[in-house]
């Protein structure tokens, strides 16, 4: 099982993501934003958190137009798995792989703390390790996590069960309390909270572990 973690100038959760994947039993390669292709045989691409290109212009906008992102879009369109966390979620919306956009937090402040998440669906490789309706705690660390999409898009996401996680106490103004969403084929997940920061005992919280475990089980059976 192989994963690629994409590294942009300004990524800062790339190593955490790589460690979480490695400890889940995945063969991880770090790829650079100027690479035009992914390593062959990659099952999963993880786009980590951080501040790619200094968040210039808009969060994720410049990263979304980097050479590696064309390869990531092709990978997703071919049915590959893509996990975008925090800045990775912002980048996925900018590429168009996921709908909507992430705006400045409604309270304008950068927020760094553990928040409650409700599992909205267990019908995805990422969430099958959780019971739908259950609650977990996962850290957020963002300034622009306020999920926005028009009414029709929000209704479609909710109607199709593509909202993966909602906040139990909305910290940033996201419409529909949305913290993470899935693509139509349920193989691309974007989420603002950081499961890789709630992975091992040293983190003081291992609620994110089942996301990686579920993903590995799915990929192993594929």
């Amino acid at each position: 099982m192989k994963a690629a973690v994409v590294q942009f100038p300004g990524s800062n959760c790339d190593r955490d993501m790589a460690v979480a994947l490695e400890k889940s039993g995945v063969d991880v390669t770090i790829v650079w934003h100027k690479d035009a292709a992914l390593p062959s045989g990659v099952d999963l691409v993880a786009i980590p958190g951080g501040f790619s290109f200094g968040d210039y212009l808009r969060c994720g906008a410049i990263a979304a137009n980097s050479p590696i992102c064309n390869a990531v879009v092709d990978h997703a369109n071919a049915g590959g798995y893509v996990l975008g966390v925090c800045n990775g979620f912002q980048i996925l919306t900018e590429t168009g792989l996921l709908p909507g956009a992430l705006l400045r937090n409604a309270g304008l402040k950068y927020i760094c703390r553990t928040v409650g998440l409700k599992i909205e669906t267990s019908n995805s490789a990422y969430t099958e390790g959780y019971n739908a309706g259950s609650e977990i705690g996962v850290p957020i660390a963002h300034h622009d996590g306020n999920y926005f999409a028009d009414d029709a898009t929000i209704a479609a996401l909710q109607g199709e069960g593509r909202v993966a996680f909602t906040y139990t106490d909305n910290p940033n103004g996201s419409r529909g309390d949305i913290a993470g969403i899935l693509s139509e084929n349920r193989r691309v997940l974007g989420m603002m909270p950081h499961p890789e920061r709630a992975f091992e005992d040293a983190h003081g919280n291992t609620d994110g572990q089942r996301l990686f475990a579920g993903l590995m089980a799915q990929l192993a059976s594929a």
């Binding site: 212009l57 808009r58 137009n65 919306t93 705006l103 937090n105 409604a106 304008l108 306020n146 926005f148």
Partner: protein, 76 residues
Amino acid sequence: MKARVHVMLKDGVLDPQGAAVKHALGALGFDGVDGVRQGKVIELDLADGATEAQVGEMCEKLLANTVIESYRIEVL
């Protein structure tokens, strides 16, 4: 050719920065400010032969996120 691109959040998209600026103006005693929307201005210095249509493509591809933003091109 020079072009100036004005990018604004669309109507109906929450602008917390504009709201904060409005609040600060009120705190300074500037009454009568009913609303503030904050956007950005991008100036492009373009080679001869560039067209407004090309600037439009730049806006669609990168300069604006049309999910949340509108843009207006001003050719200088």
